[in-house]
């Protein structure tokens, strides 16, 4: 499977949602730097037991109900992995 195909597998990206907020992760791009996990003020993320095809354990928003949509995870992720889609503007 070539690089582009592998990355396009992010059609299977992790999407977690709760009524106000949806967190979308292009997990194939994750490099396990853990910034999002550390920087989240509400402890929303935990590390997945699974690895992406490059061997990295990506984050899962397992406590999404605690998310306050500050978007720090999205803002500080160096690899454009996360988007926090919120209904409020």
């Amino acid at each position: 499977m070539d690089q582009l195909e592998r990355l396009n597998r992010t059609a299977e990206r992790v999407v977690e949602a709760v009524d106000k907020v949806k967190i979308v992760l292009d997990f194939e791009f994750c490099k396990e730097c853990e910034i999002c996990i550390s920087v989240c003020p509400r402890g929303v993320y935990t590390k997945s037991e699974n690895r992406n095809t490059r061997g990295y354990r990506y984050p899962i928003p397992s406590r999404i109900e605690r998310c306050i949509q500050c978007r720090q995870c999205e803002i500080l992720c160096p690899d454009f992995v996360i988007s926090v889609i919120t209904s409020r503007r």
């Binding site: 490099k31 730097c33 910034i35 990295y56 500050c70 978007r71 803002i75 500080l76 160096p78 988007s83």
Partner: protein, 284 residues
Amino acid sequence: MISASRLTPALELKRRYLRQERLPMIFCPGCGIGVALKYVLWALEESGLEEDKVVWVSGIGCSSRVPGYVNFDSLHTTHGRALAFATGIKLANPELKVIAFMGDGDAIAIGGNHLIHAARRNLDVTTIIVNNFNYGMTGGQIAPSTPHLYKGSSAPYGNYERPFDISALVASAGANYVARWTILEHVHAVRSIKKALLKQGFALVELLVPCPTYFGRRNGMRRPIELLRWLRENTVHVSRAQKMSQEELKGKIVIGEIVDRNEPGLVQMYMEYVKRAKLAMKSA
């Protein structure tokens, strides 16, 4: 008005501006270059500049690889010389919007002379210097930005030199706009970059970022979050720094808008040279 909630989703930014077939980017886990790039893309989007007229220029180094990832015209040049090439591009076609994107070693060591001359000339270029306090691509050697006594692969016993204050240097050389932020101050950084993009003359935004693989690891900060904490603890905003003593400021880096002026840019000054030439010819 830039605020966190109104920034375009990062995934959309990636789709819109990055060359998909070249991803993923080569940067290390936790490297701040990707974040710096993200801020520039947000600012570019906000600025409304015509995309076909945007040209990215870079030198050599990790940061300088960025133009190869963005879907714009780009010139990846020789080590330290981005601003010299940029001078030619901008003067030859002033309609082009030139963004110089470089690392600290590239910009201030080998490129130092071109940096200060570009600022002196007030060359109409937006310059982003991504400062990770060492030479990342070649293995973590110290750079003229490495703080005194910190370690690098070419100073295993601690850097015996003092670093440059890059922003102060460029400001005193005459640049119209200079700002320095860490990647933690995202709203300010994006706002400054947008201002820099729309400014006439030389506009610099210096971004302080983590390099976990080298600078961090060699100085007891293996994890990116530790480096982010170090950045927060060792930077102080200019408004607070003004009230602090020399002693208190020791080892601290001042962040904020360093200078903001509106002197004529190089293109304008050259146009006036042309006017003078034609006038002289007429009266001859």
